[in-house]
C-alpha cells in the first residue's frame, strides 16, 4: 500500500517531480560518461600533464565573451603530417617544409604560441629545425632554430628522436623570437615601446605592431607558421608537426592551472559521485537495516550488544574520526566508503529496531505466529515490508550525505588520487590559490555540481516526506555533517 | 425562545476528490435549559465534526462552514472570533473532547491546565488558581493532589474525569461531550455517567452528548438526535426515540443492541454509511434501508413532525 503511495506521492509533490527529472538527467549523463571515458581516466588522462600541455592555463570558459565587448583570442591547435615540401633526392634540396596557416581575429594577442615536432629519424647528422612566423603585414620572424640531439654513445643509425615525447617549444618565450622582434622594431621609425615591457609579453609584439610608444596594437589577419627541417640524407624524415596558438578562453568550463579541461574532469566526477553516494548508502542501509532487524526481532544479548554499539558509534563526532581513519588507512575510494558506513549505520539501526519492536508485539505478527509461520517468513513478509518505505527513504536521504562527506574529505586532500572527484578539483583550486586569483570557473562549477547532485536526492526525499515523515523525522540521519 | 437553535449548519472538508460533507444542513432546536441532548451516529456520520462546528473549533482543511447557531438570542456564527472568545468560548459553552488521555498537555501539571483560561490573560493569582483547581477536581471525584500531578501520572478513569473538571471551570451553561466514555470499561463508564448526571441535576448544566452508543445516551439524554451520513434522521424526546422510534434507521439502530435481559436476538445493519464526498441523490439511508421505495432514491426526504416534538426525515410518513 505504502509502496504505491510512495510513487504516487513522488509524482504529486513539486520537489518530488523536480527530483525525479534531475535524477533521470544525472543517470543519463553518467551512462554517457561511463561509456565514453576510458576506465582509467584518472591516471592516464587527468593526472597526466602531457595530455594537457597544449591547453591554455587557467583560462576561463569560452562563453564569457558573450558578456564582454572585447573578443578574446581563440585557442587554436593545428597538426600536420604532410609537408608542403619534401626532399626530392637532389643533394642541395634536403629540406622538409611544413606550413601552418592560421587566422588571428581578436582584440587581444594569443596568450602563447608553441610548436611541437614528433618522430624524427636521421641517419648521418642531426637535422636543423627552424620555425618562422609570416605575418599579414608581410614581416617574417624567425622564432626558433635548433639542431636535434646528436647520436648518443653506442647508438647506431637510424637515429630516432622524439618518438615517445615530442619536441615541444614555447615559441613565445624563445630567445630567438625576442631577437627577431627587437630587429623588427629597430627598423621602424616611430618610437616603440621599450624592450623591458614587451619582452614580458612577447605575443603582443609577435602578433601586433606598435600603436603608441607604450603599447602594441593587435594585428589581425592571416598568419603562417613555417617549420623547416634541414636534413642530410633523403631517407631522413619528420612525421608530425603541431602548433598551438594559445587562446585566452577555453571550452565550456575553462581550464585549471595545469591546462586541464575542467568540463572533462567535472563530467567524470558525476558517475563517481553517484557511485560513492549510492554505494555507501546501499551498504549503510543494508548494514543498518539488518542490524536493526536482528536487534529488534531476536532481542536478548544480540540486542543489548547492538544497542550499546549503536549508542556509542552514534555519539562519536564523525568528521574528525573520518579524517583520521582515512589518513591512517590511506585514501582509497572503497576505504572511504566503508569508513563512512562504519560510522553511519546506527541511525537506521535504531529506527528499524524501534519499528520492529512495535511490530513484533503487534497482532499481525502474533497472527502469523499463531499460523505457525517461520521466523524468516515473519521477518520478511510481516516485518520488513512495514519498514521498507522508511528504509528506502533513508537510502535516498543518506546518499547526499555520503557525497558531501567524500567531497569534504577530498577537499582536505584525503581523496582517492587515482579517481578525480569534484572535491579534489576544488581542493586543487583552493590550494593553488584559485580563489584569491579570482578563478571563479574553477571553484563555482564543481561546488554547484555537488549541490545539484545532493539536492536531487534531497528533493526525492522531500517528495516522499508525506508518506514517510511521522517516523522518518525521528531518524537522526540529518546530523551528518556537511 | 429556544435555549439553542441550530439552523442549516454546513461543514465541508477539502479532499482531493472534492468536498467531504461532514455536516450537511443540520437544523434543530434544543428547547429547554438544563436538559441533555444526545447526538447519535455511527463512525463517519459526522458527529465529531458537528461538535467542532458548534464550538467553532474547526480544523484548517475546512472548505465550507456556514449556517447559524442561535444561543441566548445571539448568532454564534456571526460573532467575531474575538467576541466569541471573550463571551462564549469556555465561559458559556465548554467541551469535553474525545480521547481524554490526549486532552492534556503532557508537560504541564493537571491543575494548571484546568484553570488555565484565567491564569493566562485575565489574571488571577496562582495561589487562588491552585485552590480553585483543587476544588474543581474534587467536584468530579478526584483527590486534591491530582492538581499537582502530570497527565501521564493519572489512571484511565482519572484522565476521564479531569477534562470534565476543566470544562466546568468557568461555570458554562452548556457542555459539549464528545464520546466522553469511549474506550472505557463498563464499570468506569457507569462512574462517569453518574458523575455527569449529578452535574446535570446539581448544577443545572445543559449538555450535548455525542456518542455512537444509543444505550449510553439513554442514561442521561432528555432529547435524542440521530444522524446518519451527515444528515439528521430523527429528533425527539428520549421516550419517543427509545420506545417508539419512527425512522427505519433509528429502529434498526435500536434493534442492533444486544439486550442483556430477554431472548430477543440483536439484528444488524449491513453495509456501510454512504460516501460523504459523492452521496447518492435522495435519502442517505436508502442503500441499507429495509423499507426503501421509489421516492427515497429521487428526492431528499421531508422533515416531518410525526408526534409532538418528534421529528423524522422519512418518505414513509409523507402523505
Amino acid at each position: 500500500m505504502e509502496r504505491h503511495r510512495l510513487l504516487s506521492e513522488l509524482k504529486k509533490s513539486g520537489p518530488g517531480k523536480v527530483g525525479v527529472v534531475l535524477f533521470a538527467l544525472l543517470i543519463t549523463v553518467s551512462i554517457y560518461v561511463v561509456f565514453t571515458y576510458p576506465p582509467d581516466f584518472g591516471p592516464i588522462r587527468w593526472s597526466n600533464p602531457a595530455v594537457w600541455a597544449d591547453n591554455p592555463k587557467a583560462a576561463p570558459p569560452a562563453w564569457i565573451h558573450l558578456f564582454s565587448d572585447t573578443r578574446p583570442a581563440e585557442h587554436q591547435v593545428f597538426e600536420t603530417t604532410s609537408p608542403v615540401h619534401a626532399p626530392s633526392g637532389e643533394t642541395h634540396d634536403l629540406e622538409y617544409v611544413f606550413q601552418i596557416p592560421f587566422t588571428h581575429q581578436a582584440d587581444e594577442p594569443p596568450t602563447f604560441l608553441s610548436f611541437a615536432l614528433a618522430r624524427a629519424v636521421y641517419h648521418l647528422r642531426p637535422p636543423v629545425v627552424t620555425v618562422l612566423l609570416e605575418r599579414p603585414d608581410g614581416e617574417e620572424f624567425t622564432l626558433y632554430r635548433e639542431i636535434l640531439r646528436g647520436p648518443r654513445p653506442g647508438e647506431s643509425p637510424p637515429y630516432q628522436r622524439h618518438f615517445t615525447e615530442p619536441l615541444r617549444v614555447l615559441l613565445s618565450a624563445e630567445r630567438r623570437a625576442v631577437e627577431a622582434v627587437a630587429g623588427f622594431l629597430k627598423g621602424l621609425e616611430d618610437p616603440v615601446p621599450p624592450q623591458e615591457q614587451w619582452q614580458r609579453n612577447l605575443t603582443a609584439a609577435l602578433f601586433g605592431s606598435p600603436a603608441s610608444p607604450e603599447a602594441f596594437g593587435v594585428l589581425s589577419g592571416d598568419y603562417n607558421l613555417v617549420v623547416r627541417v634541414m636534413v642530410n640524407d633523403p631517407a631522413d624524415s619528420v612525421e608530425k608537426v603541431r602548433a598551438v596558438v594559445g587562446g585566452s578562453v577555453f571550452g565550456a568550463l575553462g581550464t585549471d592551472i595545469l591546462g586541464r579541461d575542467l568540463a572533462e574532469g567535472l563530467l567524470f566526477g558525476l558517475p563517481v559521485a553517484l557511485l560513492i553516494g549510492l554505494t555507501a548508502s546501499l551498504i549503510n542501509t543494508l548494514v543498518g537495516t539488518s542490524l536493526g532487524l536482528v536487534s529488534g526481532y531476536l532481542g536478548g544479548v544480540a540486542d543489548v550488544i547492538i544497542q550499546r554499539a549503536a549508542d556509542i558509534v552514534s555519539n562519536i563526532p564523525l568528521l574528525p574520526l573520518l579524517i583520521f581513519m582515512v589518513f591512517i588507512l590511506g585514501p582509497n575510494l572503497w576505504i572511504i566508503i566503508l569508513i563512512l558506513v562504519a560510522f553511519s549505520w546506527p541511525g537506521l539501526t535504531i529506527m528499524v529496531r524501534t519499528m520492529v519492536l512495535q511490530l513484533r508485539s503487534g497482532s499481525e505478527v502474533e497472527a502469523a505466529q499463531a499460523l505457525g509461520a517461520s521466523r524468516t517468513r515473519i521477518i520478511f513478509r510481516h516485518i520488513f515490508p512495514h519498514t521498507a518505505p522508511f528504509v528506502f527513504a533513508q537510502l535516498v536521504f543518506f546518499t547526499p550525505s555520503a557525497i558531501l562527506a567524500e567531497a569534504g574529505l577530498s577537499f582536505l586532500g584525503l581523496g582517492d588520487p587515482s579517481i578525480p572527484t569534484w572535491g579534489q578539483i576544488l581542493e586543487h583550486g583552493f590550494r593553488t590559490g584559485a580563489v584569491f586569483l579570482g578563478y571563479w570557473w574553477w571553484v563555482i562549477p564543481p561546488g554547484l555540481l555537488i549541490v545539484l547532485t545532493a539536492i536531487t536526492f534531497m528533493f526525492l526525499a522531500l517528495g516522499m516526506e508525506p508518506v514517510v515523515n511521522p517516523r522518518l523525522r525521528r531518524a537522526r540521519s540529518w546530523r551528518l555533517w556537511r | 425562545m429556544a435555549f439553542m437553535e441550530i439552523k442549516d449548519l454546513h461543514l465541508y472538508y477539502e479532499t482531493t476528490r472534492g468536498p467531504l460533507r461532514a455536516v450537511e444542513g443540520f437544523s434543530l432546536s434544543f428547547q429547554e435549559e438544563g436538559k441533555t441532548l444526545g447526538i447519535i451516529g455511527e463512525s463517519g456520520s459526522g458527529k465529531t465534526s458537528l461538535s467542532l462546528a458548534i464550538m467553532r473549533s474547526i480544523p484548517g482543511n475546512v472548505s465550507t462552514y456556514q449556517g447559524s447557531i442561535l444561543f441566548e438570542g445571539r448568532d454564534l456564527m456571526r460573532l467575531s472570533a474575538a467576541e466569541f472568545r471573550k463571551d462564549i468560548r469556555w465561559k458559556k459553552i465548554s467541551m469535553v473532547f474525545q480521547g481524554a488521555m490526549n486532552s492534556f498537555n503532557p508537560v504541564i501539571q493537571v491543575g494548571r491546565q484546568v484553570v488555565e483560561r484565567l491564569l493566562s490573560g485575565d489574571g488571577i493569582s496562582p495561589r487562588k488558581a491552585g485552590r480553585e483547581a483543587e476544588s474543581l477536581l474534587e467536584t468530579v471525584g478526584l483527590s486534591r493532589d491530582v492538581a499537582y500531578r502530570y497527565p501521564h501520572e493519572l489512571s484511565g478513569g482519572m484522565k476521564q474525569r479531569a477534562p470534565i473538571a476543566m470544562a466546568l471551570y468557568l461555570k458554562p451553561r452548556l457542555i459539549v461531550l464528545d464520546e466522553p466514555t469511549s474506550a472505557l470499561d463498563v464499570s468506569i463508564q457507569a462512574q462517569i455517567m453518574n458523575l455527569l448526571k449529578q452535574l446535570k441535576w446539581n448544577l443545572g448544566i445543559s449538555m450535548i452528548l455525542i456518542t455512537h452508543d444509543i444505550a449510553l445516551a439513554s442514561d442521561i439524554c432528555d432529547y435524542i438526535a440521530v444522524i446518519h451520513g451527515a444528515k439528521l434522521m430523527e429528533y425527539g424526546p428520549a421516550e419517543n426515540i427509545l420506545i417508539n422510534p419512527q425512522g427505519p434507521y433509528t429502529q434498526k439502530l435500536l434493534a442492533s443492541i444486544p439486550r442483556l435481559h430477554g431472548d430477543t436476538r440483536p439484528q444488524f445493519l449491513s453495509g456501510a454509511p454512504c460516501d460523504l464526498v459523492s452521496p447518492p441523490p435522495g435519502c442517505r439511508f436508502q442503500s441499507r434501508c429495509p423499507s426503501v421505495f421509489e421516492p427515497c432514491r429521487e428526492k431528499e426526504p421531508p422533515w416531518l413532525e410525526v408526534a409532538p416534538a418528534h421529528w423524522t426525515g422519512c418518505w414513509l410518513y409523507a402523505k
Binding site: 497482532s363 505466529q369 505457525g372 512495514h386 | 470499561d185 453518574n194 427509545l242 443492541i257 442483556l260 444488524f268
Partner: protein, 331 residues
C-alpha cells in the same frame, strides 16, 4: 462431563510477566493466576471481564503463544507444551486466533487473496490451483461476495467489518477446530457487530468449531455463547451457562458489572447507576484473599481478606468463588 468431548482444557494456569521496577527489582504481574476450564467441541465460552483482568492473556496461553509459568493447557487431551516441531505445526493448524483490531492484524501490503492464501502456503496445502479454489470458497463463506473481486483488493480499501471477515477467513481456511476470538467486534460499529457474530456462529454450526469468545460486552456474551466465565484480576470469579450467569448472577462483581451495562431505557436518566467504586487495581499488587475484596460493596466476612475463595458449584454447572453465597440478597 464427557471427557472425550473436551477439546481444550486448562488446568490451574498461571501466567506471570516480570516488570523491571527500579534498577534491580522486578515485580511479577500476575496476568492469569490459577485458572482451570474445559471447552467442549462445538461450544463457545465467553470470557468476560474489565481490561486488565487477564482474559486476553488467557486466550493467548491456550494458543501456546505465551508459556504459562504453572499449569498446563491440553488440546485433545495432550499437553501443548510437549508439542515439538511437526506436532506444534499441526496444533497451529487446529487452533487459530481472531484479533480485536482488524486494522493492525493483517499485512497491509498483501491482497485479500494473498492474506487468505498465506496459511495454506505455511502449511504447504495443495498446489496453486487447489489453493486458489480454497481461498475463493473461504471468501464466500465469510460473505465477501463477489469473492473474485474482493480477492484482488488491498485491505485499506475495505471497511472495518470487511477486514474482520478477511481475518476470519484467514483463521478458518485451514479448517481449525478451536478459535480464540479476542474482542472480535469491539472495533466495529455497534450496528454491524451482530452481523460478524452471526457469521461466527454460522461457521461454528457448520464445522463444529469451539470458540473462546473474549469480550467485555456482557450482552453479546449472553446471546453468542453457551457459557460465560467472569474474570477478575487473573482469576475466575464466576462461571456458568450464559443465561444463568446473566439472569442469576451470584458473585458481587458480576452483579455490579451487569448493573453497569446500560440498556436503552429512557428511565435510566432519572437515577444513578450502582457502580463498582474505584479503579480496577493493577495486576502488579493483587490484594490478599479475595482479589475483589477491596472494592466489594457487600459486607465482608473475615475470610475475604485472608484466603482466596475457591470456585464452588452452586447449581448445575454454575460455579462461583465467593464466601458470601447464601448471605447475599437475591438479585
Amino acid at each position: 462431563m464427557n471427557s472425550e468431548n473436551v477439546l481444550v482444557k486448562g488446568e490451574s494456569l498461571k501466567v506471570y510477566f516480570f516488570v523491571r521496577r527500579g534498577f534491580f527489582r522486578s515485580t511479577a504481574v500476575k496476568a492469569v493466576d490459577g485458572i482451570s476450564f474445559q471447552l467442549r467441541r462445538g461450544e463457545t465460552i465467553a470470557l468476560v471481564g474489565e481490561s486488565g483482568s487477564g482474559k486476553t492473556t488467557l486466550g493467548r496461553a491456550t494458543l501456546g503463544l505465551i508459556k504459562p509459568v504453572e499449569g498446563t493447557v491440553c488440546f485433545e487431551g495432550e499437553d501443548i507444551s510437549t508439542f515439538m516441531d511437526h506436532r506444534i505445526k499441526e496444533f497451529r493448524r487446529k487452533a487459530q486466533p481472531i484479533f480485536q483490531d482488524p486494522y493492525s492484524s493483517i499485512n497491509p501490503y498483501m491482497t485479500v487473496f494473498q492474506l487468505v492464501e498465506e496459511p495454506l502456503i505455511i502449511h504447504k496445502r495443495g498446489d496453486r490451483k487447489e489453493r486458489e479454489k480454497l481461498v475463493i470458497q473461504t471468501l464466500e463463506q465469510v460473505k465477501l461476495i463477489p469473492a473474485a473481486e474482493f480477492a484482488t483488493k488491498y485491505p485499506h480499501t475495505l471497511s472495518g467489518g470487511q477486514r474482520q471477515r478477511v481475518c476470519i477467513g484467514r483463521a478458518i481456511v485451514l479448517e481449525p477446530e478451536y478459535i480464540v476470538a479476542d474482542e472480535p467486534v469491539s472495533m466495529i460499529d455497534a450496528s454491524s457487530r451482530a452481523e460478524i457474530l452471526y457469521l461466527l456462529r454460522e461457521l461454528q454450526e457448520r464445522r463444529n468449531l469451539s470458540f473462546l469468545y473474549i469480550t467485555h460486552d456482557l450482552a453479546s456474551a449472553r446471546h453468542f455463547s453457551d457459557r460465560i466465565a467472569v474474570m477478575y484480576l487473573g482469576t475466575q470469579v464466576e462461571t456458568g451457562p450464559s443465561r444463568e450467569v446473566i439472569e442469576h448472577p451470584l458473585h458481587p462483581y458480576t452483579r455490579r458489572l451487569l448493573q453497569a451495562v446500560p440498556e436503552p431505557d429512557p428511565r435510566n436518566r432519572f437515577h444513578l447507576r450502582p457502580v463498582i467504586p474505584g479503579d480496577p487495581p493493577s495486576a502488579m499488587d493483587v490484594p490478599q484473599g479475595c482479589p475483589f475484596q477491596p472494592r466489594c460493596p457487600e459486607s465482608l466476612v473475615d475470610e475475604c481478606t485472608m484466603i482466596r475463595p475457591p470456585l464452588n458449584e452452586i447449581s448445575k454447572g454454575h460455579h462461583v468463588a465467593c464466601y458470601l453465597q447464601g448471605k447475599l440478597p437475591e438479585s
